[in-house]
Structures are given as structure tokens and as C-alpha cells.
Amino acid sequence: MEAVISGIGESDYTRSASQPMSGTDMQLLAIDRALKDAGLQASQLDGVVVPTGGLDSDKLAALLGLPDIRFVANVDLGGAAGVAAIGVAGMALSEGVANHVLVVGGWLGYSKKRASDLMRDPAGASLTRSSILRDYYLPHGAMTPVAWYALMARRHIHEYGTTPEQLGRVAITARCHAKLNPKAVLRDRPLDMPSYLDSPFVCDPYRVADCCLETDGMAAIIVSRDDYGVDTRHPVGVMSVEQARPDPPDDFISRRSLHSSIGLARAAPRALGRAGISPSELDFAQIYDCFTFEVIQQIEAIGMCGVGEGGEFVEEAGIGRSGVLPVNTHGGLLSEAHVLGLNHLVEAVRQLRGEAGDRQLRVAELGVVTGWGDLGDGSIAVLGNAS
């Protein structure tokens, strides 16, 4: 039995201080759309997997009127949770304990819980429960992901000569892709290299233009047994999902490499191996792009190139629509919206179904979606066009 993604749904993605909908309403809207997309009734859902930041599953079951939820799990992997949740859903299906598992999440990351406000808690409690961060990072002013990951990026720049223009290429490519996506928050805000290089530094080498968006948005994905019998128009096969943590997971400073000892470096070869494919066969990758260098380091971890060659890959092989590996064809967290990576899964499904409109890739039969969480937890799903 192979799990399939049978339905996808999203709320609107917005960046406005006055959000008329509650987070719960937005999740329900995304779920309604995913059910309609899958041709299912809410009562047919018998499993719920909630990634980090998602709604309380009991409340969700009550609101949806689900009569008999048989499987519930919470996946706590930060931004890597959305992709990892697909894997957990798939396990429930292959164990035979559920037939249709709902994965739903996102956040009101602009109107309510802005990432920039999380830093106002001196204990960092709302940002992390890690005592290592509390004791050895935050007291020195290393309060934010942008500072932690800037330290990783700077070391890569030093070792391999990765350039500002290569980081800029990631940001600019995302913006070009957003132009073709009606849902992308920054679709009308073009970015070229001079304006990228003019973007002010937040934490050197990261500029404002290297950082992901703060937006409101929710997305829902339904994972079903491939033999569930409903006439799914375009089921997308879940070929493999893996998650992995770096060693140690809670501190990047004591890892072997300051930039390459990440979870995805372990998860990606396992996932590709289980799916029986090599990186060169991928038609696209939707990569968790919290910051630009995280795309470069994950391209290396996926095995598209060697460690240290990611900057060159972005510049020469290319991550645009006609590049060797089209990356984030929807604009990603950098230019579409920050839906904790669930929007990357939705985009992968659209591409594999051939329903991506103006941004449809010519060939889209096999792709990966990655997640990045906390200090480098990694997840990856290999998805294929089942037809």
C-alpha cells in the first residue's frame, strides 16, 4: 500500500494587521477546500496529525463533527513538522488504523503571533523550550533564528567562497516565481540584484531580503490509502518520507560542522534510497526557505552537489523554472507566504497534478519537499505523479 495525497486546501494568504478571520476559521476553510478537492466528506476523516503550531485536535474533531477519530498525533519539529506529519499519516495508513488522515496547520504569523515579537520573552520560552538556547545563546544576544543561521552561513562563506550574489540569486528566483502565483504575497514586488544588494543587513550576512515573510495563512492536506476507492482525479503518490535530527539536535555549536551537520543530510539519502531514485531524477524541489542560505545548505544535503558547491549550483546549474532543479515554484516562504512549509507541500501536489497554472513546469513527475526546523531538524517527502 502506498499513501497518496488525495486533497489539498488553503486559506487566503495575507499580510494585514486587521485579520477578519480567526485562526480556527481559516483552518476550517482550508480543511473544507481540501475535502472538496479530495471528494470526501468530513465524516470520512478518521485520523488527524497536527504539526507544530496547529490547532488542538480535540477541538478540531468537535468542530468538524468527526464521529470516530481513531488516530491522532502531534508532530513537534518546528518548520520540519509539516513534511514529517505526512510521514506519520502514511504510517497510520499502512498500519491500517486509519483511511483518511488530515494534516492541517499554519499560523497567524502577521496579525497575531509575529515571529519578531517572540523575541520579547526574555526566557525565550515562546520561541523554544531548549535549555541550551536559554543558557548559552540568548544571554549573548543570539536571540533569533536569523542570528543563529547567519553564524552558519558566515562559516560556509568563509570555507567555500559563497558570495552575496549567490544568496541573492535564491531570493530573486523566489520573487520571480512569485510573480506567476496569484496567491503570492509579494507577486507585485520585483527584486533584482542591485536592490537585493541594497537591502539592509539584519544579521550579517543576512539582509532583509534573505529573510522569510511574516504572513497569515493556513493549509490542509489529506493523506489517504491508495486503495480507498473514491475517484481521486489526480492522486499524488507519497513514495517516502524521512525525518532526522542533527547530532546534537539542541546545539549547533558543538556539531562536527557548523553548517553541514544538519538533519536533512541524513534524511535525504534515506528518503531517496527508499524511493529508489537519485537526486538527478528530480523535476523540482520545494525547499523550506526560512532564509536564503538554508536553501543552499539543503540543496547540498539533498545531494544535488557536494558540500560547499551549493552557491555555485544556484548560480550556474540554476534553481529557476528552466534550471537544473527548479526550487520553490510558488515563491516559497520568502515570497509566497510563511505557512510553516505546508504551502510547499501544496505546491508540490499542484505541480505533480499539472494544475499549477501559469507556473506549471513542463515536466513535473517526481519531486521532493523539505522541512527545516529549530536548529536544523530536517524532513523530506519524495512525491510522484501516480498516473
Binding site: 519578531s116 535549555s131 548559552y136 549573548h140 544576544g141 536571540m143 558566515r154 562559516r155 539592509p200 543587513f201
Partner: protein
């Protein structure tokens, strides 16, 4: 060593291994956790030795010399507790391949083009918050960017 008043800002726990490490810093000493059983030195300190699982440690005096491996210049005030931008956060490699994160003082100005702080020799001093908590601080041993 400069004594400063405790301010409303993120501070490390005064309990457990963090309490021990930061009390030594408050006393002006850099001491690291040295496993009594397998002799591994680990930082950050933890409840158990991550190599052998032992939980008895000697707090060993450590060299206060290091070399910067990476850094970032924080140019935007991202937290109300650290509004005094720009400031530099660095990770330095110490003796025995142990790494430490701390503020690097004296290099806050914009980096000259093509220059970097990686490779800079630093000495570890301490910002003493109170009797229980000291924070390591890097003092550059060269006056210019590399």
C-alpha cells in the same frame, strides 16, 4: 573585569550544569566539564557525558585563548533586551576543539569590504552580572579586521 548591575534581560539558569559553568565565570574563571570516567571535555555542559553516559564531572580550568570560527554583526535591534546595535556575536574554537559562543567586543563598526573576523585571536574575559552569573566575552587580540 567589569561588574555590571543585573538588568532585565535573558540570563542563563543558575541551576544544574549551567549554574556551575556561569558561577565559575562570575568568579573570573573559565572551567569546562571534564568527564571523570572517559575524560571527554564537553561544552555546553550537560547532566550526563554525551560520550559515555557518566554523570560525575570535574570542572577543569581551561585556556582562555581562542580563535574566531564564525560571527555575525547584529545590525537590527531584534529584541528589546539588546537594542544597542550593532554588536558582534562570535563562535570561537578553544583548546581541545571545544567551541564557545559569546559577544565579541570592539569590532562593531561596518566591516571593510572583503574583510572578516574569522581567524581573529581572542581572549576570554567575563561580564559579571552578579555572584551567581558571569558571561564569557571575547576580547580581540588584534586591532583590525582580518
Amino acid at each position: 573585569m567589569k561588574r555590571v548591575h543585573a538588568v532585565d534581560r535573558p540570563l542563563p539558569s543558575t541551576r544544574g550544569p549551567s549554574g556551575e559553568f556561569h558561577r565559575w565565570c562570575a568568579a573570573g574563571e573559565l572551567r569546562l566539564q571534564h568527564c571523570e570516567s572517559c575524560a571527554v571535555v564537553q561544552h555546553p555542559p550537560r547532566l550526563r557525558c554525551v560520550k559515555c553516559g557518566n554523570h560525575a564531572f570535574i570542572w577543569h580550568p581551561w585556556s582562555r585563548e581562542g580563535v574566531v570560527e564564525t560571527y555575525t554583526v547584529v545590525r537590527r535591534a531584534l529584541s528589546p533586551y539588546f537594542v544597542d546595535v550593532p554588536f558582534v556575536i562570535a563562535i570561537a574554537r578553544l583548546q581541545g576543539a571545544v567551541r564557545l559562543l559569546a559577544r565579541l567586543k570592539g569590532y562593531e563598526s561596518t566591516a571593510p569590504t572583503g574583510k572578516s573576523l574569522i581567524g581573529l585571536s581572542v581572549r576570554i574575559d567575563f561580564e559579571v552580572v552578579d555572584d551567581m552569573v558571569g558571561l564569557p566575552v571575547f576580547i580581540g587580540q588584534e586591532k583590525t579586521w582580518k
